[in-house]
């Protein structure tokens, strides 16, 4: 015990520690190192994210380049050579001869892009409205929170479907497929801001009555600056937890919408679209078209979910 204390004291340099050093010494990183579940989840999530980002480099073929496709390769089972062409594919091919492994990597890309963007949208919207409601109070608060209540009356997936339907009706037919991804982000993002707004509002109301805010008001800082520079940093840790859990929910919401046929179009398939395509072949025995995208989705959702759970416990001061 004394020995470790000594080495630690000795290793602290005279100058201020770097950002990386500070991050590695933090309580959060310590808690992370102590939790095998968190480390495995983080590894899985990181692997999937990297695979998605570098999909063009990792994937053996580009599944959306018609020149590289050979219809004769259709329905090749995983790991076996095709009876006509002799080509073999690690995870098999779908009906059009597209390599499943490659479609998963590109699908993962779309799923993650939609998930991250939707959460970002929900977070920014929720923070702005939550800060306004909590800090300004009065009528602003009443209107924002009533709107939140009305939206909470419905499950968010229903709200997302509705927004998708309306947006689809507004966009001209020829742009619908191109716009589908953005509409999806808008639909999921708008259906999910309430959670952020509620938490930010609650914390902002607590922070508002603290001395540092009073001090900032007294030296004449504008309200906007107080909200963004002083109050916001102090309400960020619950926001981070919600963002992580929302990411898992957003990924599943995207997959659900795409599976139901009101999301990513077949020309830009996400994991949900791939599962929708694969479902049609389940009855005729081509299980791999559905199985591998489903497993990928599950691994991603589970990893992000567990990471969110861990983060919530790790940042909760009452559990320490």
């Amino acid at each position: 015990m004394t020995e470790t204390t000594e080495t630690r004291t000795a290793s602290i340099p005279a100058k201020a520690p770097t950002r990386l050093r500070r991050a590695l010494d933090s309580d959060l990183f310590y808690a992370f190192r102590r939790s095998p579940v968190a480390m495995v989840s983080a590894a899985v999530a990181a692997l999937l994210i990297l695979a998605a980002v570098f999909a063009p480099l990792v994937a053996p073929t580009n599944p959306f380049d018609p020149a590289s496709l050979n219809l004769m390769n259709g329905f090749t089972p995983p790991g076996q050579a095709n009876a006509f062409t002799g080509d073999s594919f690690w995870l098999g091919t779908d009906d059009q001869g597209r390599d499943i492994f490659s479609t998963i990597l590109y699908g993962l890309r779309i799923s993650l892009f939609v998930g991250f963007s939707a959460v970002l949208l929900a977070m920014v919207l929720g923070i702005i409205l939550g800060l306004l409601a909590g800090y300004v109070g009065g009528w602003t608060d009443t209107i924002i929170m009533r709107a939140a209540d009305v939206q909470l009356t419905f499950p968010s997936i229903l709200v997302a479907m509705l927004i998708f339907g309306i947006a689809k009706g507004i966009t001209p037919v020829e742009y619908r497929d191109q716009m589908a991804i953005w509409v999806l982000i808008l639909a999921i993002g708008l259906s999910d801001w309430v959670q952020f707004a509620r938490v930010v509002r609650g914390s902002a109301m607590v922070e508002k009555s603290k001395d540092y805010v009073a001090a900032a008001q007294m030296i004449g800082r504008p309200s906007l600056a107080i909200m963004l520079r002083h109050v916001l940093p102090n309400v960020m840790s619950p926001v981070l937890v919600i963002a992580t859990i929302s990411l898992a929910l957003a990924i599943i919401a995207e997959a659900t919408l795409s599976f139901l046929g009101v999301g990513a179009p077949p020309t830009q398939p996400s994991l949900g679209t791939l599962i929708r395509i694969g479902q049609g072949f389940l009855f005729s025995g081509e299980w791999w078209i559905l199985f591998f995208p489903a497993c990928t989705l599950l691994a991603l959702a589970l990893a992000v979910n567990l990471l969110g759970d861990w983060l919530r416990d790790a940042l909760n001061p009452r559990l320490k």
């Binding site: 509705l162 507004i170 659900t256 599976f259």
Partner: protein, 323 residues
């Protein structure tokens, strides 16, 4: 008490008015009804005449009030896609969804409470641990994957149960039921499990944590000291006191079950309102979307209202001024 109920009803009406406004705006934002009704060879005169005839030249608030009057009478116009009265289509589809939702709710409540009590009593047993871990995976699994998994296992591999549709149905008046035929009952099993699984795990976890809380209380220890049988302690004393929050959750989840039926109905091609709605979204059939939105809103608001009032009856503290 009366003022509390009145205020709650007032708030509910407000919510419905806002949702009605959203539903009404959908008609205005998405496409022009005149375009849908008149053919290619229309003159400006035709357009103006029809606009006046339909009241579309009136100011927005007037049109909104008219929309509300019609909506209250259940009139949402004609489906763009099917060319039939929306109310008629919904009425035709409602029994399928309500039956599915009811069976799912029963499944969720019965198994949720049973598993919850079991995992609380045998806290460290291997079966209890297994149920708890399985429920964690169940929560992470998206509903549509659970449905596909069940279809693959019980319809494709084992061939025990039908994979889609309602089977044979019997008409009783305007209501059609699948409960009276064998194929109808068999068709209900997989969709009900798919739909109710999430709610089951929710109820199970709630019952478990409430039970664990209650079992620590003094009156349970005194009951044990009196030498009462375990069975009597667990079910007569403990379970009874865990029921208040459980009833609330069950009530609130009922609406969620009906809304989430959209996913289950799509997986199993179940001819209910959810499938109708998702098809309406795909084809931008605004009257059907608006009507479904209003219907779900009414359902949620009524359920919330009943739960709130029940709560106030059970717990007098909630009747206070700022409730």
């Amino acid at each position: 008490m009366l003022s509390f109920v009145l205020r709650r009803i007032g708030q509910s009406v407000l919510v419905l008015l806002v949702v009605g406004l959203v539903a009404f705006s959908m008609f205005n934002f998405v496409g022009d009804p005149i375009d849908n009704m008149l053919g290619q060879e229309r003159t400006q005169e035709d357009i103006d005449r029809l606009r006046a005839q339909l009241g579309l030249d009136q100011p927005f608030p007037v049109q909104y009030v008219r929309f509300l009057q019609e909506a209250v009478q259940g009139n949402f116009g004609v489906s763009y896609r099917q060319g039939r009265e929306v109310s008629e289509i919904i009425l035709e589809r409602a029994p399928a969804t309500l039956e599915l939702a009811m069976i799912s709710a029963i499944f969720a409540v019965v198994f949720g409470i049973a598993f919850g009590v079991y995992t609380a009593i045998r806290r460290d047993g291997w079966l209890a641990n297994f149920i708890m871990s399985a429920s964690l995976i169940g929560v992470s699994l998206p509903t549509f994957l659970i449905g596909i998994l069940l279809i693959y296992l019980f319809s494709v591999e084992l061939g025990w149960l039908p994979s889609f549709g309602r089977g044979e149905v019997v008409d009783i008046g305007w209501w059609s039921t699948g409960l009276l035929t064998e194929s109808g009952r068999a068709s209900l099993i997989l969709p009900s499990i798919t739909l109710g699984l999430y709610q089951m795990t929710l109820i199970m976890r709630l019952v478990r944590s409430e039970m664990l809380e209650v079992l620590r209380q003094d009156y349970i220890r005194f009951a044990r000291a009196r030498g009462l049988a375990d069975r009597s302690i667990h079910f007569r004393h403990a379970l009874k006191n865990t029921m208040v929050p459980v009833v609330t959750i069950i009530g609130l989840q009922l609406g969620a079950i009906i809304a989430f039926a959209i996913i289950t109905e799509t997986v199993f091609q179940w001819p209910g309102m959810g499938l109708l709605f998702i098809n309406a979204v795909q084809f931008v059939d605004i009257p059907v979307m608006a009507a479904y939105l209003m219907l779900i809103a009414v359902m949620f608001v009524v359920i919330n209202l009943i739960v709130d009032i029940l709560y106030a009856l059970i717990d007098p503290r909630l009747r206070g001024a700022d409730a």
